[in-house]
C-alpha cells in the first residue's frame, strides 16, 4: 500500500467515523414508527394486542399493524420479499423458522432481546420461541381399553378404522410421520418404515386438516383418535368434551412451537426486538397459558398453581426428541408427495 492509498483510507475512515456513533441513535424508535407484524388471528392476535402492543406503544409512541393469516401465506410472502421485507416480525412454526434463517429470510436470534438468555435451548433455534405446544395423541378415554402410553398403541386393534390421521404437511402431520418413525426404530432420515406402518392403519375414519376438524370428528362420533397439539386438546377436554384424553407417550411428545422471527432487513429492528421481549414477558406468557394452554418458552416466569397440571413439565420438555428440523423442512416436498400417494390417496 502506498502512502497516497493509505492517506485515502484514513480520510475515508475519518469521514465515516461520526456515522458509526450516530447510527445507533438513528436506529432508535421514534414516535410514529410503524411496526408490521405477521401473525395468526383469533386468540393470538388478541393476546399480543393486549400484552405486547399496549406497553410498546406506551413506551415509544409507535404504531403496530398486523398482517393476519395462516403460516403458509405468511411464509410465502416473506420468501417473495426476501431482502425488502414488508414485515418486521413474523410468526412461523418450528421447522419453517429454522429453514427461513438458513434461507436468509429471517434473522437468527441474538441476546439483543434481553429475555433470550432465559429461553429454553430448543426455543433459541430459528428465532425466538414464544409458545410451546407439542403434538401428541388425543383420544376418547371411554373408547380405550387402557390409557395410551406409547405411540405404538395407535396400532392396537381397538383403534382400527376409528383414527382421524392428520394430513401432511402441517405440524400435526409432521409429528405423525416423525414419531411413527421414532417409535418403530427409525428417525427423520429414514421414513420408509413410518410410511409403511401408517399404511397399515388404513382405512382411516377420516383425514383431518385442523384441530377444529379433529375435535368436530370426536364430537360427532366419526373418529376416536387423532394426533394433535396437546395444548388445544387439553383445552378442548376441559371446556367441551371431557372424554378427550391426552397421551404422554414414553417416546416423548413431538416438539412444536410458535416462533417469533425478525426479518432480514427489518426496518424497525429495535422495535422488533422490544416487541419480542415483551412477548416473552411474564404477563404475556401467563395470558398464553390461560387462554391457549401454551407452555412458556422461558424459564423465569411463574406458572399459576391451577395451570401446573395443564402445561408441560420440565421432565416432559427434556424427554422431547430433537430432530434435524432443517432436514425435515428440506424434505417437505418429497414427503408430501409420498403422503398424498401412499396415505391420503
Amino acid at each position: 500500500m502506498n502512502r497516497r492509498t493509505f492517506g485515502k483510507l484514513v480520510l475515508g475512515a475519518g469521514v465515516l467515523a461520526p456515522f458509526h456513533f450516530v447510527r445507533p441513535a438513528l436506529a432508535q424508535p421514534a414516535p410514529g414508527d410503524e411496526l408490521v407484524v405477521g401473525i395468526w388471528g383469533g386468540v393470538q392476535e388478541r393476546i399480543v394486542r393486549e400484552y405486547v402492543e399496549k406497553p410498546l406503544v406506551e413506551k415509544y409512541g409507535c404504531t403496530v399493524s398486523y398482517v393476519l393469516g395462516g403460516t403458509g401465506e405468511r411464509r410465502a410472502r416473506a420468501y417473495a420479499e426476501r431482502g425488502r421485507p414488508s414485515f418486521d416480525v413474523l410468526y412461523l412454526n418450528i421447522f419453517e423458522s429454522r429453514q427461513a434463517v438458513a434461507d436468509g429470510v429471517t434473522q437468527a436470534p441474538t441476546d439483543a432481546v434481553p429475555q433470550f438468555e432465559n429461553l429454553y435451548d430448543m426455543a433459541k433455534l430459528g428465532g425466538y420461541g414464544v409458545a410451546l405446544n407439542p403434538v401428541t395423541i388425543a383420544y376418547k378415554g371411554s373408547k380405550a381399553s387402557a390409557p395410551i402410553t406409547s405411540w405404538k398403541d395407535i396400532w392396537k386393534d381397538e383403534w382400527k378404522g376409528r383414527i382421524a390421521w392428520p394430513t401432511y404437511p402441517g405440524a400435526e402431520g409432521t409429528a405423525g410421520l416423525l414419531m411413527t418413525s421414532l417409535a418403530w426404530g427409525g428417525d427423520e432420515k429414514n421414513l420408509d418404515l413410518a410410511f409403511q406402518k401408517i399404511q397399515e392403519l388404513k382405512p382411516f375414519a377420516a383425514l383431518q386438516t385442523s384441530a377444529d376438524q379433529a375435535f368436530q370428528m370426536f364430537d360427532q362420533d366419526i373418529a376416536d383418535l387423532t394426533i394433535e397439539f396437546g395444548s388445544l386438546s387439553r383445552k378442548q377436554s376441559d371446556t367441551v368434551n371431557s372424554d378427550i384424553a391426552i397421551a404422554d407417550p414414553t417416546e416423548g411428545l413431538c416438539p412444536a412451537m410458535n416462533v417469533a422471527c425478525i426479518t432480514e432487513g427489518a426496518r424497525n429492528q429495535v422495535l422488533a426486538e422490544e416487541w419480542i421481549n415483551l412477548h416473552l414477558s411474564e404477563a404475556c406468557m401467563q395470558a398464553y397459558m390461560r387462554e391457549a394452554y401454551y407452555s412458556p418458552t422461558v424459564k423465569n416466569v411463574a406458572i399459576p398453581d391451577d395451570f401446573k397440571d395443564k402445561l408441560l413439565t420440565p421432565e416432559q420438555i427434556g424427554r422431547m426428541p430433537a430432530f434435524d428440523w432443517e432436514y425435515v423442512a428440506q424434505q417437505q416436498t418429497a414427503w408430501s408427495s409420498r403422503f398424498n400417494r401412499e396415505i391420503a390417496g
Binding site: V67, G70, R75, L207, A211, Q213, F215, A344
Partner: protein, 564 residues
C-alpha cells in the same frame, strides 16, 4: 370509418385492463411453469423446459386429481342446475310484493363468507346435525356417512355457487314475454309441453352462462373441499395451494394450474358449442336438433311436475338457508370453539368481541369500499365488451372472449403465485388501487357473462323504432338500451359486488396491514382455531344485508328494477 371499428373499440377497455392487471401475473405463471426445478429465489427467466408438464401428465396421482376435479365440477354444476332452475322459475313467479324478499333469500348467502357457509353445511350434514335430528324424530337414522366424502363437498359447493346459476337464469326467464307461454298454452300445450318446448329453450342463454360460471368456479375452489372432504377429496386447487404455498414449489403449482385452466376452458368451449347447436335461431340457421320427449313421458311429467318442482324448490331453499340459520344459532352458542356443534348455552360474548375488539369494523369498511370501486369499474368496461361480443363480428373476437374468461378458469391461488413474484412492483402502486385492479379482473368474467345474456335479450325492434323516429345513438342508448338492460346491470352489479366483497384467496396474498378486508380477517381467524366470533361476524353481516335490502327496497323500489 369509426363505425367499421366499433366492435374493436368496444372491446378495447376490458382487454387493456386485463392486459395490465391480469396478463402480467399470468405471464409469470407461464414462465414459472417452464422452470425445470423449484427455486424460490432463482431468476424468473430461465431456459424453458417442459419438465413440470411432463411431471404432472406422467404422474397418475396428479392426472387422477385433475380428472376428479373435473368430475366434481360437473357434478356440482348438474346439482346446481337441477336445483337452480326451479328456484329461478319460482323467483320469476313470486308476486312482485314478495320478490324483493325472495331475492334476499338468494343474495344473503352470497354475502356470507365461504368458510362459514361450508361450516354451516357441516352442521347440517353432521351425525348430530340438523338432517339427522329431523330424521331421528321420524325414527330414521342416524346416518354417520354424510360428511367427509365427495357428495358432501358437492353439496357444499352447490350451496356456495347455485345462486350464480339462479341469477343468470332469472335474468333471462323474466325477460321473456309471458305472451310466449300464453300462445303455447292457447295452442293446446300442456304445462310440461310449454316448459319443454318454449320456456326451457328460451332460457338457454342464461343456463349456458350459469353452467360455465358454476363449473369454472367449482373446479377452482378448494376451501369447501378442504373442510368437507375429510382429507379424502382432492381438487386441483388444493394441490396448487399445497405445492405453491406449503412446498414453495411454484413451477409444479403453475403447471398444474395451467393444465386445469386448459381443461376448464375446453369444457366451457364444449358447453358453448353444445348450446349453440341447441339454439339455431340465434345464428339464423334453418335447422338444428330439437328437444323431444315421448308422449308418455310428457303425461307422466304433467302428473309429477307440480310436486317435483315444489320439492326441488324446497330443497334449493333449504340448502341455501338452513346452513345460515345454523350459523346464526352457532353465533350465540357458548362453546369455546366454532366447530363444537353441541348446544352449550346462550351467550352474546362473541358479538361483544366482534364489536369491541379485532378491528372488524375497519375491515368491513375496507371491504365495502373495495367492492364498490371494483363493481363500478367492472361494469363500466364489461358493458361495451358485452355489446362487442353480441352485436359485432371481427377477426379475433373469439380469442378475445376466451381471454376475458381466463381469470375465471385460472385458480385464484395461481394468480396469487404470479403476484407473489411481482410483489415489489405491486407495492409501487397504492395497495387499495392494486387490490381494486385485481378484484376487477376477478369480477369481469361474471359481469361480461351476465351482461351478454342481457344484451342478447334486448328487443332490437325498439331500438330500430327509436332510430326511425330520429333518436340518435346516445338517446337510444339512454332511453332504450339502459332501461332494457337494467335487470342485467343490477344482477351483474350485485354479483360483482358480492364477488369482490367475498374474495379471499388472492386478497390474502396481497393485503397489507392497512387494507385488511373482512373475508381476510375471517379467514385469518379460521386458520388457527375457529372461534365462534366468525359466526357472529357472519350473522351480523346477514342482518346488515337484510336491513340494507329492506331499506333499498322501500326507498328505491328495488323490486321494480327486476321487472323489464
Amino acid at each position: 370509418m369509426l363505425a367499421r371499428w366499433k366492435g374493436q373499440i368496444l372491446a378495447t377497455p376490458v382487454t387493456l385492463w386485463l392486459l395490465l392487471a391480469f396478463a402480467a401475473p399470468l405471464a409469470v405463471v407461464v414462465l414459472l411453469s417452464l422452470h425445470e426445478y423449484a427455486d424460490p429465489f432463482g431468476p424468473l427467466f430461465l431456459p424453458p423446459s417442459l419438465a413440470q408438464f411432463q411431471l404432472v401428465l406422467g404422474d397418475g396421482f396428479y392426472v387422477g386429481v385433475l380428472v376428479e376435479t373435473l368430475l366434481l365440477g360437473a357434478g356440482v354444476t348438474l346439482l346446481s342446475a337441477i336445483l337452480g332452475f326451479p328456484l329461478a322459475l319460482w323467483l320469476v313467479r313470486v308476486p312482485s310484493k314478495w320478490r324483493a324478499l325472495a331475492f334476499m333469500v338468494i343474495l344473503i348467502p352470497l354475502l356470507t363468507n365461504v368458510v362459514v357457509r361450508s361450516l354451516g353445511v357441516v352442521l347440517l350434514l353432521a351425525p348430530d346435525g340438523l338432517i339427522n335430528g329431523v330424521l331421528g324424530l321420524l325414527g330414521i337414522g342416524p346416518f354417520n356417512g354424510m360428511l367427509y366424502n365427495h357428495v358432501a363437498v358437492a353439496i357444499a359447493l352447490a350451496q356456495v355457487f347455485m345462486p350464480f346459476i339462479v341469477l343468470a337464469l332469472y335474468d333471462v326467464l323474466q325477460g321473456t314475454s309471458p305472451r310466449v307461454y300464453e300462445a303455447a298454452t292457447s295452442l293446446g300445450a300442456s304445462p310440461t309441453m310449454a316448459f319443454w318446448t318454449v320456456r326451457f329453450p328460451l332460457a338457454f342463454p342464461g343456463l349456458r352462462a350459469g353452467i360455465i360460471v358454476v363449473f369454472l368456479m367449482a373446479t377452482t375452489a378448494y376451501v369447501s373441499a378442504k373442510l368437507l372432504g375429510g382429507g379424502r377429496v382432492w381438487t386441483t386447487g388444493m394441490l396448487v395451494w399445497q405445492e405453491a404455498i406449503s412446498n414453495l414449489n411454484s413451477p409444479t403449482a403453475s403447471a398444474l394450474a395451467l393444465l386445469m385452466t386448459f381443461a376448464s376452458l375446453a369444457f366451457a368451449a364444449l358447453v358453448g358449442w353444445g348450446f349453440a347447436k341447441l339454439m339455431p335461431w340465434q345464428s339464423l340457421k334453418p335447422r338444428g336438433p330439437t328437444l323431444t320427449l315421448p308422449v308418455w313421458a310428457m303425461r307422466l311429467l304433467d302428473l309429477v311436475a307440480p310436486i317435483l318442482s315444489r320439492l326441488l324448490v324446497a330443497c334449493a331453499l333449504g340448502l341455501l338457508i338452513l346452513p345460515l340459520i345454523l350459523v346464526c344459532i352457532q353465533s350465540v352458542n357458548n362453546v369455546p370453539q366454532g366447530t363444537s356443534a353441541a348446544w352449550k348455552g346462550f351467550t352474546l360474548r362473541w358479538y361483544e368481541l366482534v364489536f369491541t375488539q379485532g378491528g372488524y369494523t375497519e375491515s368491513f369498511v375496507v371491504s365495502v369500499q373495495l367492492a364498490l370501486a371494483a363493481t363500478g369499474f367492472a361494469l363500466a368496461i364489461s358493458l361495451p365488451a358485452a355489446f362487442a361480443l353480441t352485436r359485432f363480428r371481427f377477426p379475433g373476437i373469439s380469442a378475445l372472449s376466451m381471454f376475458w374468461t381466463l381469470p375465471l378458469s385460472l385458480p385464484g391461488v395461481a394468480i396469487g403465485i404470479g403476484m407473489l413474484r411481482l410483489l415489489q412492483l405491486f407495492y409501487t402502486v397504492p395497495t387499495f388501487v392494486g387490490l381494486m385492479a385485481l378484484h376487477v379482473v376477478l369480477v369481469i368474467p361474471f359481469s361480461i357473462s351476465l351482461l351478454v345474456a342481457s344484451v342478447q335479450q334486448l328487443d332490437r325492434a325498439q331500438e330500430e323504432a327509436a332510430q326511425s323516429l330520429g333518436a340518435d345513438g346516445i338517446r337510444r342508448f339512454v332511453l332504450i338500451v339502459i332501461p332494457g338492460l337494467m335487470p342485467g346491470l343490477v344482477a351483474s352489479g350485485i354479483m360483482a359486488f358480492l364477488m369482490s366483497f367475498g374474495e379471499v384467496t388472492v386478497t390474502s396474498f396481497l393485503t397489507n396491514a392497512r387494507t385488511t378486508t373482512l373475508p381476510v380477517r375471517i379467514y385469518a381467524e379460521a386458520t388457527f382455531v375457529l372461534e365462534p366470533t366468525v359466526y357472529a361476524v357472519s350473522a351480523s353481516m346477514m342482518l346488515v344485508t337484510l336491513l340494507a335490502l329492506v331499506v333499498m327496497n322501500r326507498v328505491f323500489s328495488v323490486d321494480r328494477l327486476h321487472v323489464r
